[in-house]
C-alpha cells in the first residue's frame, strides 16, 4: 500500500492551474521530497494532501483513504508542520504541544515522550514566541508528532535556519524515518533533499517533471549532485518555454 497516491491531480485558482495533472506514489516509511521553484505548486500539493484545499480533478488517496470523503480520518492519522509556523506565541512549549494532544485525543505521557524524542525538554517552560527559528521548527515537529501520525508533512522545514539548526533538524527527520514514519517534505535546499530523501520529485508549473531516487537522477544526468541535476532539469524546462 502506498502512503500517498495521486492520479492526474488538478487544482485551479481562478484561471491559473496551480496543479496540472500531478501523479505521485509515496511508499510507506520513506522520505519523499517535493522540489521546485517558488510558485511551482509544492505548498498547494501539501494543502490538498492535508485536506485543506479542495482539488478540482483527479484521484487523491492518503493511507488508502479517499480525499475528500475520508478527510476526518486522514486528519487524525497525519501530522503537519506548515511553512514558517509560529504557534501560540504566548503559550509555553509544553502548553503548545499539550494543546494539540487535546485536539488529537493524545495523552500527556506521550507529550513527554515526544519532547524527549525531539530533545526539547529543557525548553518546555519557555514561551513559544521567545524561541529561536530552529527551536520553533523543533516544537512544530513535536506538535506534528502528537497523535502518533503515520505520515508527517513538512513544508519547507528548514527555511531560514542557520546551518547548525538545519543539521540538527536533519537528524530529527532521520530518527522519525527510522521509527517507520512516512515523511512528505517540500524544500528549496537540494543538499537536504539529497541527504534525507528516498525519493525526490521536481515540480514546475504544477507538473511533475522528474521523479526518482536522488542517486539515480544524478547518475542519469551525469552531474555531480542533486543541485546540478535540479538546475539542469529546471533550466531545460525553462528553455522549452
Amino acid at each position: 500500500m502506498f502512503a500517498i497516491r495521486t492520479e492526474n491531480l488538478k487544482k485551479r485558482f481562478g484561471r491559473f492551474f496551480a496543479l496540472n495533472g500531478v501523479s505521485i506514489n509515496v511508499p510507506m516509511g520513506k522520505v519523499y521530497s517535493l522540489l521546485g521553484p517558488n510558485g511551482a505548486g509544492k505548498t498547494t500539493t501539501v494543502e490538498v494532501l492535508n485536506c485543506i484545499l479542495k482539488h478540482d480533478y483527479g484521484k487523491v488517496q492518503v493511507l488508502g483513504l479517499e480525499i475528500p470523503k475520508d478527510c476526518k480520518e486522514i486528519r487524525k492519522r497525519t501530522g503537519v508542520l506548515p511553512q514558517e509556523y509560529n504557534g501560540f506565541t504566548d503559550l509555553t512549549v509544553k502548553e503548545n504541544i499539550e494543546y494539540f494532544a487535546k485536539i488529537y485525543g493524545d495523552s500527556k505521557d506521550h507529550v513527554k515522550d515526544i519532547m524527549r524524542l525531539i530533545n526539547i525538554e529543557d525548553l518546555k517552560d519557555k514561551k513559544f514566541g521567545k524561541l529561536s527559528g530552529g527551536q520553533k521548527r523543533k516544537v512544530g515537529i513535536a506538535c506534528a508528532l502528537v497523535g502518533n501520525p503515520e505520515i508527517i508533512f513538512l513544508d519547507e522545514p528548514t527555511l531560514g535556519l542557520d546551518p547548525l539548526a538545519r543539521r540538527n533538524l536533519w537528524e530529527i527527520i532521520k530518527d522519525l524515518r527510522k521509527n517507520g514514519i512516512t515523511i512528505f517534505m517540500t524544500t528549496h535546499y537540494m543538499e537536504e533533499a539529497e541527504v534525507l530523501s528516498d525519493i525526490v520529485a521536481i515540480i514546475d508549473k504544477g507538473v511533475i517533471i522528474e521523479e526518482g531516487n536522488p542517486k539515480d537522477i544524478i547518475g542519469k544526468l551525469k552531474v555531480g549532485n542533486l543541485e546540478e541535476a535540479y538546475i539542469t532539469i529546471i533550466g531545460d524546462t525553462s528553455n522549452e518555454r
Partner: protein, 344 residues
C-alpha cells in the same frame, strides 16, 4: 460529542491564555474601557455644567402652579419640562412637585445627591423664594445613586461590548493567519464550528471583563448600577451582531490579504461609534443625523442597556433587544458560514 467538547474547551483555553497575556489585548479589554468611562464621565459633567439645567415639573396646583412655572421659565436660568407623573422623568433628573395645596403647601424639589444636583436645587430654591418671599421650598434628595452621567457610562458599555466582539474575532484571526496557526488547525481534527464556538466564547470572556471593568470604575466614581439578569439578552445580541460582522469581514477577505480585515473593521466601527447615541442623544441632533443615530446598532444596544440598567424598564429594554435580534441571528449565522479553516 465528548471529543468535540474537549476540542472546544482546549481551543478556548489556548486562545484565551495566548491573548490575555498580550499587552494590546489587555489594553483593549481593561484600559480602553477605563479610559472610555473616564472620558464619558468628564464629557457628561462638563456638558451638564456648561448648559442650562433641565428640570421636570409636576403641577397639581393648576392656576397658581402655572404662575410659578411661568416665573421660573422667565428667569431663563433653568429649562422646565412639564410632565404628568414621575414615571415620565428620566432617572437621576431633578424634578419639582407643585402640590395641590400650593401656595399653602410647600413646593417639593427632588435632586440627585451630588454636586450638580445640589447646584440645581440651590438655584431653584433661590428662584422660587424670590417669587414668594415666604420660604415655600422643601428639598429632598432622590434615593438613587444614579445621575445623568450613568446614562453616558452605559454608552461606554455598548461601545466596549461591540468593539470587543468585532476586534476580538478579526484581531485573533489575523494574528493566527499570519503565524500559520490557522493552517495548522485546518489540518488537525478541529472542526470549523468548534473553532467558531471557541472564538465566540473567547469574545464573551473579553466583553464580560470589559463590562465589569466599566461597572467597577463607575462604582469608584460613586455611580452604583444594578444589572437586571435580562441584561444578558442585549449583551449576547451585541456580541453576536458584531462578532458575526467580524466573521463576515474575515470570511470575505481573500486569504493572504487577511490584514485588510482589520482596515475594514476600523473603517466600519469608528463611524458607528461616533454616530451613535453613546455620547450625544439623538434628540439633540437635527434631521437626518438623528435618524442615522437611531438606526445605528450601537445606539439600539445602548437603548436596551439603558432601559434595563438605569430605568429598570424590562418591557422597553426587551423591545429594543428585539429590534436587533434578527440582525444578530443573521450576522452570526453568516459569520459561521464564512469563517472556514479549510475548503474541504
Amino acid at each position: 460529542m465528548r471529543d468535540s467538547l474537549r476540542r472546544i474547551v482546549a481551543t478556548l483555553v489556548a486562545i484565551t491564555k495566548d491573548n490575555l497575556s498580550n499587552r494590546i489585548t489587555l489594553f483593549f479589554i481593561i484600559f480602553f474601557p477605563i479610559i472610555l468611562t473616564l472620558v464619558f464621565a468628564l464629557v457628561g459633567y462638563s456638558f451638564i455644567n456648561s448648559t442650562i439645567p433641565t428640570v421636570y415639573v409636576i403641577n397639581s396646583a393648576e392656576r397658581e402652579g402655572n404662575k410659578l412655572i411661568n416665573y421660573i421659565n422667565a428667569s431663563g436660568l433653568v429649562n422646565l419640562i412639564e410632565v404628568n407623573n414621575i414615571s415620565q422623568i428620566p432617572i437621576g433628573q431633578t424634578y419639582v412637585i407643585i402640590p395641590n395645596g400650593y401656595p399653602k403647601d410647600r413646593v417639593e424639589i427632588y435632586y440627585s445627591n451630588d454636586i450638580i444636583g445640589e447646584k440645581v436645587f440651590m438655584l431653584l430654591k433661590y428662584i422660587i423664594n424670590s417669587y414668594n418671599s415666604n420660604n415655600i421650598v422643601n428639598g429632598e434628595t432622590i434615593s438613587t445613586s444614579l445621575n445623568p452621567i450613568s446614562s453616558l457610562i452605559i454608552g461606554a458599555i455598548g461601545i466596549a461590548v461591540s468593539a470587543n466582539a468585532l476586534f476580538g474575532i478579526t484581531g485573533v484571526t489575523i494574528g493566527y493567519e499570519r503565524d500559520k496557526v490557522l493552517l495548522r488547525l485546518a489540518s488537525s481534527p478541529l472542526r470549523n464550528i468548534e473553532y467558531l464556538i471557541a472564538i465566540v466564547l473567547y469574545q464573551l470572556i473579553l466583553a464580560t471583563i470589559s463590562v465589569l471593568v466599566i461597572l467597577f470604575s463607575s462604582y469608584i466614581m460613586g455611580l452604583k448600577m444594578t444589572i437586571s439578569p435580562i441584561f444578558i439578552i442585549p449583551f449576547l445580541e451585541g456580541l453576536f451582531f458584531f462578532g458575526g460582522l467580524g466573521g463576515i469581514i474575515v470570511g470575505l477577505t481573500p486569504r493572504g490579504k487577511i490584514f485588510l480585515a482589520n482596515v475594514v473593521s476600523n473603517a466600519l466601527f469608528f463611524p458607528l461609534m461616533f454616530f451613535s447615541n453613546a455620547v450625544i442623544p439623538s434628540s439633540a441632533l437635527p434631521y437626518p443625523f438623528s435618524i442615522i443615530i437611531n438606526f445605528n446598532p450601537i445606539s439600539i444596544i445602548n437603548d436596551a442597556f439603558r432601559y434595563l440598567i438605569l430605568y429598570n424598564n424590562i418591557n422597553d429594554g426587551l423591545l429594543y433587544s428585539f429590534e436587533i435580534l434578527p440582525f444578530s441571528i443573521i450576522f452570526i449565522a453568516l459569520g459561521a458560514k464564512l469563517v472556514k479553516l479549510r475548503e474541504v
